[in-house]
């Protein structure tokens, strides 16, 4: 465990300094910001899933009250503005590359999902813009919609560039060795699972406010982004062909993203374009319905799994064939999520000698599918941990023991998996043991019997997950098809009085960076945390950085800050040596003081800072004045958190209601900087995982209409759906970053769905139930119980 070195240093559960403004309603979000002369944009969206546009008549809208502009795809095309791009592509089995159809900012001749933007109305007020949009007449020639992605290859072709509606057909691993292992196996466990489609539902809907300054021909965009620098790069270089220096992107307070705010969406680009066209600031904010219809969704896989076992129940091979739904257009990271972030995770915590996987990414007439908390890793963990549990039951072993005999042994690290990743470190039995202890696993059967007396079915289920986060290094990312680097930046500015301004390329949209990052700097410099200010989210202030996603901020962004602070300390030592008339080698830095070893001669950190900015007594001939350092940190590997979660449920057979009665989470996140914030991340992740497993399901009907487009039908987890979580940790510090840290943001959402579904199936196992799809709604569970009883009666 972490040693608490200082009251507010690394390892201390400091209260989040940013919470005061958020909890008192003082957060400043994009929609809170208003500019003089601002107008409102409203997008007219397609209400059909797949159609050719025969004509658009905007005449009546143009002259409606308050309207300052009505634009369609042809206006965008005339100005040659490009659409959003795909940030990562993969090669196909047949040697071709991922098919990348264009994604126009406003529809060009065709609409491809309900919610596709057909026109934009800009007016003095939002109500005027909406009223004018109702006057636009679009004449559609409706085409057959493609909704079911498994059979999408047989459906009407959605893009000219995408034959059989297949964006890519990718593979990883050794197919012939894996098939041989399956053929020669003592037992092959087969399972088909579906990873249900989810709507991210960030609390703050997407919003953009664009302003054009005709004097210096530059734009300012406030937007709800997890990565403002990438947004600027894509908008400037790929969509508008303007110098980055002419576009400032600010992501102010952002109310949650979960992946859905990584990408550049068409609305922000249209606002930027329209702000110059109209010559006034243009604002757009989504309402909740638009968020349901147009934010990228998550998950939506089907996976066919074959797990080969030898006569000792050791795994000898794994084959997974996956089909996934990517929706109407290829979103920025839609390709990497089901491939590189999914296929490479299939070894889990297990020593598997051969693995093969094939993934087909399909186009459908539904909104784009991209990263959502966990992004590929929850899907991999779900299929693997469901299979592990099924295999254990089929071979008659306790699921914990079956996992244990297949774990990668502690002495095997670094461990090279058969699916490209090399785990630097891990130790899996301790978190399994600890989670079992936390939930009192050994007495479970007593609890099951006691519940049975009350007429309830009680079940227990576990999931031992591996997570790969802090995607890196850039060279490998590039080799795998990534079009961006995966480093992170930090700039640490020591102010003349010794206070610190930290500029980070990471972005906080709820994670608590202002606290965690300040703790790192305070701890390393031996100064109070209040002296450290963290600045993020503004391309004019922070160095180019990659933003926050994939649980990368601490491992990559925190490490960059740590490296910049190291440079500060090194330079400070030189200044201290001069002031103390000692050799640099004799200067020790401890508790905020530079001390000449073996003497009582010392200088406080603040004195060094002042000397750097008021260099009256300073080695100017060998050292520049000032005290500010940058670091760009490109990690040498992913970080690999792991853990075991165990869920316990009770099912009421009369209604099918599943109650989560207990939960033990034991995670190895390496060193913890702020255990309270980490625990919050674990809670939130599990809550989202419970949402996926029991409640949430994005459902399109056969016409491509999203039936679950509001909270009346889309079921979000609420506090009373959740138990009190038992959270514990083990620690194998990451070997390749200075802080020894891994990521914790997604682990809960990755670990929890299979643990919960395994528990549901275990509860119903006395009835002969062996499978249950997500979400395990009351109706579905009740039906499974009815069917098992009617089978028993026959």
């Amino acid at each position: 465990m972490n040693e608490v070195t200082k009251i507010d240093g690394i390892g201390s559960s400091v209260r989040r300094t940013e919470d005061k403004k958020f909890l008192t309603g003082k957060g400043r979000y994009t929609d809170d910001i208003n500019r003089p002369g601002q107008v409102q944009a409203y997008f007219l969206r397609s209400d059909v899933a797949h159609a050719e546009i025969k004509s658009i008549d905007t005449k009546a809208a143009q002259s409606a009250p308050g309207v300052v502009g009505v634009f369609t795809g042809s206006d965008i095309a005339a100005d040659k503005v490009g659409g959003p791009i795909c940030g990562w592509v993969v090669p196909c089995r047949d040697g071709s590359s991922t098919k990348e159809p264009p994604h126009p900012l406003l529809a060009q001749g065709k609409v491809r999902f309900v919610g596709d933007a057909v026109a934009v109305v800009v007016a003095e007020t939002m109500e005027q813009a909406k009223s004018a949009a109702e006057l636009i007449d679009v004449d559609y020639n409706e085409l057959t919609p493609v909704v079911d992605f498994v059979s999408a290859d047989k459906g009407a072709q959605i893009h000219e560039e995408v034959p059989n509606n297949c964006y890519f057909d990718w593979e990883l691993g050794d197919e012939s060795a894996t098939n041989k292992a399956i053929e020669s196996a003592a037992k092959v466990v087969k399972l088909s699972v579906r990873n249900n489609r989810l709507v991210p539902n960030a609390m703050e809907p997407r919003s953009a406010l664009a302003e054009y300054d005709s004097l210096d021909e530059s734009y300012t965009l406030h937007t709800t982004s997890q990565n403002p620098h990438l947004t600027r790069l894509v908008l400037a270089a790929f969509m508008f062909a303007i110098p980055e220096s002419k576009l400032r992107v600010i992501a102010p307070d952002v109310g949650g993203g979960f992946g859905s705010k990584i990408y550049v969406y068409i609305e922000e680009a249209v606002c930027v374009w329209a702000s110059k066209k109209i010559g006034r600031p243009v604002k757009w904010t989504a309402d909740r319905t638009q968020a349901f219809l147009t934010d990228c969704h998550g998950r939506d896989h089907v996976n066919d799994v074959q797990l080969a076992l030898d006569e000792n129940n050791k795994i000898i091979g794994l084959r997974v064939d996956t089909v996934c739904n990517l929706g109407a257009y290829l979103s920025a990271f839609s390709v990497v999520v089901p491939t590189i972030l999914h296929g490479t995770l299939l070894s889990g915590q297990y020593d598997i000698p051969t693995i093969y996987t094939n993934v087909k990414g399909m186009a459908t007439n539904t909104v784009n599918v991209d990263a959502y908390r966990g992004a590929g890793r929850p899907e991999a963990t779900y299929l693997l941990e469901r299979t592990m549990e099924t295999a254990a039951k089929e071979v008659g072993m306790d699921p914990a023991e079956f996992r244990r005999i297949n774990f990668i042994p502690k002495d095997a690290f670094p461990y090279q998996t058969q699916v490209a990743l090399q785990y630097d470190i891990g130790d899996y039995e301790p978190h399994l043991d600890k989670a079992m202890e936390m939930i009192d696993y050994s007495n479970f059967e007593k609890r099951r019997a006691e519940a049975a007396k009350r007429g309830m079915y009680r079940g227990i289920g576990m999931s031992s997950y591996i997570e790969a986060c802090g995607l890196a290094p850039s060279a490998v990312v590039g080799a795998l098809g990534g079009r961006v680097g995966q480093w992170e930046s930090a700039s640490v500015r020591v102010n003349p009085t010794g206070t610190i301004s930290v500029f980070t390329g990471s972005h906080s949209h709820g994670q608590g960076h202002a606290t965690t990052f300040a703790q790192i700097v305070a701890d390393k410099l031996g100064i109070p945390m209040e002296n450290v200010e963290v600045i993020h989210g503004d391309t004019d202030k922070t160095p180019f950085g990659m933003g926050s996603y994939g649980s990368r901020s601490l491992a990559s962004g925190g490490s960059a800050i740590s490296k910049a602070v190291d440079k500060i300390i090194n330079k400070s030592k030189k200044i201290a040596a001069h002031l103390l008339e000692a050799s640099e080698d004799d200067i020790d830095f401890k508790d905020g003081k530079f001390v000449v070893g073996g003497t009582d001669k010392e200088k406080a950190f603040g004195e060094i800072a002042l000397a750097a900015y008021v260099p009256h007594n300073y080695p100017l001939e060998t050292l520049e004045p000032g005290l500010e350092e940058n670091a760009f940190y490109d990690p040498t590997n992913f970080v690999f958190p792991s853990g075991t979660h165990i869920a316990e449920v009770e099912i009421d057979p009369a209604t099918g209601v599943v109650e989560v009665v207990d939960w033990a989470a034991c995670d190895d996140f390496g060193n913890l900087v702020n255990p309270m914030i980490v625990e919050g991340q674990v809670h939130g992740g599990i809550a989202q995982g419970i949402g996926q497993a029991l409640l949430e399901d994005a459902h399109y009907d056969e016409n491509g209409q999203l039936l679950t487009a509001s909270y009346m039908d889309y079921c979000m987890p609420r506090a009373d759906d959740l138990p009190s979580f038992k959270v514990g940790y083990t620690n194998t510090p990451c070997t390749h970053n200075d802080l020894g840290v891994k990521g914790c943001g997604e682990a809960g959402a990755i670990a929890s769905p299979p643990a919960l579904i395994n528990a549901v199936i275990d509860a119903l196992s006395p009835l002969g139930v062996t499978d249950m799809s997500m979400p395990a709604t009351p109706q579905k569970v009740w039906k499974a119980i009815q069917e098992s009883q009617s089978v028993a009666a026959e």
């Binding site: 209604t655 409640l695 039936l707 679950t708 039908d713 889309y714 109706q779 009740w782």
Partner: protein, 261 residues
């Protein structure tokens, strides 16, 4: 929402005058359904007549019944000493509607006049032999609900109060829709000297309805066991994403059992 006129009169007679002065006017009670409908531009009335100033929010004991003003908020019903003493099941029902915000804005009259098939109150009106008092007449519960979102109310007729008969005992148990938390099935059971009434909400394609078989069974034996042998028909029950008619039929029986347990 579309811009519209807003009037807040001080009496029902003024309210009636106001609505007659508009083409297509709407009475606004708590607005829990109407306001979201307006915000989504699904309705464009010529004007709104807010009846919250018409002094329609008193609760009184009428001997055999409790009379509740139409504009009484759910929270007031839930907290009322009179209601809790005479018909605790009704207070329990009111306390389970929506969330705290809804209970402090939504009204009895608004809910009953709207007759949403998944609203809680209509089941209490039907099970508790309520009389709906309007500005022109008194309507018996059995005559009031005429179909999903349909009632016996005529144009420009305002519910002023509802009198709920005091039962010898009663209970309301609902199974909430997991997403919306409206009643997916809600059952109000009320026992009177002349028999038991069972009203089911959330389940019927025609809105709230009485269940004759369960009423007969419980009238002879007010006990969950009395229902065991009953087969609940799924005919006419709502089918949606969350529940099939068969599942709803199961829940009707199960919630009724729980109500009398």
């Amino acid at each position: 929402m579309y811009s519209t006129k807003y009037i807040k009169p001080n009496s029902t007679s003024e309210a009636l005058e106001a609505i007659k002065s508009m083409g297509e006017g709407k009475f606004l009670a708590g607005g829990m359904t109407l306001i979201p409908t307006l915000k989504q531009r699904l309705a464009s009335p010529d004007g709104l007549v807010d009846i919250s100033g018409c002094d329609l929010d008193s609760i009184s004991d009428e001997g055999d019944a409790i009379k509740i003003g139409a504009m009484t908020k759910h929270a007031s019903v839930a907290e009322s000493g009179l209601v809790n003493k005479a018909i605790p099941a009704l207070a329990k029902l009111a306390d389970g509607i929506g969330d705290r915000q809804v209970r402090n804005r939504g009204t009895l009259g608004g809910s009953v006049a709207n007759n949403d098939p998944s609203a809680c109150y209509p089941s209490a009106v039907l099970a508790l032999k309520a009389i709906v008092h309007t500005n022109t007449r008194s309507i018996e519960a059995d005559e009031f609900f005429t179909g999903m979102f349909e009632t016996a109310l005529e144009e420009n007729e305002i519910i002023e109060a509802i009198s709920f008969s005091k039962p010898t005992r009663a209970n309301y148990v609902k199974f909430p829709n997991p997403a919306s938390r409206y009643a997916m099935v809600g059952v109000f059971v009320a026992q009177f000297n002349d028999g038991v009434r069972v009203a089911v909400t959330g389940a019927g394609e025609g809105g709230v309805f009485r269940h004759a078989e369960m009423e007969a069974a419980l009238s002879s034996n007010y006990n969950a066991d009395a229902l065991s042998a009953l087969e609940i028909s799924s005919e006419g029950l709502i089918s949606d994403l969350h529940a099939s008619p068969e599942y709803r039929a199961n829940l009707i029986k199960e919630m009724t059992k729980r109500a009398v347990a």
